[in-house]
């Protein structure tokens, strides 16, 4: 009986499975299309940290990089919190 009532009034808060499928697909296809595996992303992240650390003191654990879809192009988006700039020694 509760199920029937739920069907009548609808459980609006729960996301429909079709929508979940769409969102999961969008994420997985960004990686498929760029042919970038999670391992490569991890390597890329470590390399970026190594390069930037030469110039800045960055928060390594707070860093996020991801591929994002923007209209008809894919962008590499990096969010790198900086603690402080190294002073130039030269």
């Amino acid at each position: 009986m509760f199920d029937v009532l739920m069907k009548i009034f609808g459980n609006k808060s729960e996301k429909k499975s079709g929508q979940i499928a769409k969102e999961r697909l969008q994420v997985v296809l960004i990686h498929d299309r760029a042919s970038v595996s999670p391992e490569i992303m991890e390597q890329l992240k470590n390399d970026i940290i190594a390069v930037i650390s030469k110039y800045m003191d960055v928060n390594k654990s707070g860093m996020e990089i991801s591929l994002a879809n923007d209209a008809d192009s894919v962008a590499l988006v990096a969010n790198i919190p900086v603690h402080s700039l190294h002073h130039s020694r030269r």
């Binding site: 029937v4 069907k7 429909k16 499975s17 499928a21 769409k22 999961r24 697909l25 296809l29 299309r33």
Partner: protein, 263 residues
């Protein structure tokens, strides 16, 4: 003028062979001379869907290896006499035919047919590469299901890498009621994700099962919704502009019964 169309999907079981059979029959019903080539070597099925399994004498591998001319291997359909099947071998594997051989065969056949439809095997290996080598147009078949759409995307990428630019989409086995409830990817979602021209939306239809049982494609059945969708696809392939079918509305009592779990 002959158009060579390859029916492909990446994922297995989405309805490539069913689509090939229906489009082939539909084009022949309009009076075109049509050849269907099954390239799913080792897993031959197109003959069964057309009801021609008992008439096969020679196969694709016999032709490409030069044992017999292609005309000897063609099987004419019993009801639609401008439709021919070139079946593939059931005992050889996908490496038995290479892309150059299929291109050469299609060039030979071109002058005898208005359409050559190639049924591609699942996967993205050699069999796929052979099947698309000669194609002027590729039709990608998918289903409103996460794995099938992902594989369709992969195939579209592979087709692009093979310089195939004329790519069309057919979405098969759509369950209108699930779409309406939001429990299935809808056409807007799929078009947004794959962004290639869609020429067909085929509903999930029990007629497809019963017609396959009998070896008569659903397009020959008046009452089949999927058959109607295939007829529209054939019209669009012939350049007509046909609106997509609206899903049938559920009646009040059906809805009420579903609500109380009686359906």
């Amino acid at each position: 003028m002959c158009e060579i169309i390859t029916i492909t999907s990446g994922k297995g079981g989405v309805g490539k062979t069913t689509t090939t059979a229906n489009i082939g029959v539909g084009l022949a019903m309009r009076g075109n001379r049509v050849a269907l080539i099954d390239t799913d070597t080792g897993l031959r099925n197109l003959d069964l869907l057309l009801g021609l399994e008992n008439r096969i004498m020679y196969d694709l591998v016999d032709v490409t290896s030069g044992r017999v001319p292609y005309k000897k291997a063609l099987v004419r359909h019993k009801r639609f006499d401008s439709l021919y099947l070139l079946p593939t071998s059931q005992i050889r594997d996908k490496s038995a035919v290479n892309p150059e051989q299929l291109v050469q065969l299609c060039n030979e056949m071109k002058s005898d047919f208005e359409f050559i439809i190639i049924d591609c095997p699942a996967g993205i290996e050699q069999g796929f590469k052979t099947a698309i080598a000669a194609a002027d147009c590729a039709i990608v078949v998918t289903m409103p299901e996460i794995a099938a759409v992902r594989d369709a995307d992969k195939i579209i990428g592979e087709l692009g890498r093979a310089d195939k630019e004329n790519i069309k989409l057919i979405v098969n086995r759509i369950r209108a009621q699930m779409v309406e409830k939001g429990d299935m990817l809808d056409m807007a979602d799929i078009n947004e994700i794959l962004s290639i021209e869609c020429i067909g939306q085929v509903p999930d239809d029990e007629f497809v099962v019963t017609s396959t049982n009998k070896g008569e494609p659903a397009i020959t059945m008046k009452d089949s919704l999927a058959g109607q969708a295939y007829k529209n696809i054939v019209g669009r392939i012939c350049g007509e502009s046909i609106p997509f079918l609206k899903p049938p509305k559920e009646g009040f009592f059906t809805r009420l019964k579903r609500l109380f779990g009686m359906l």
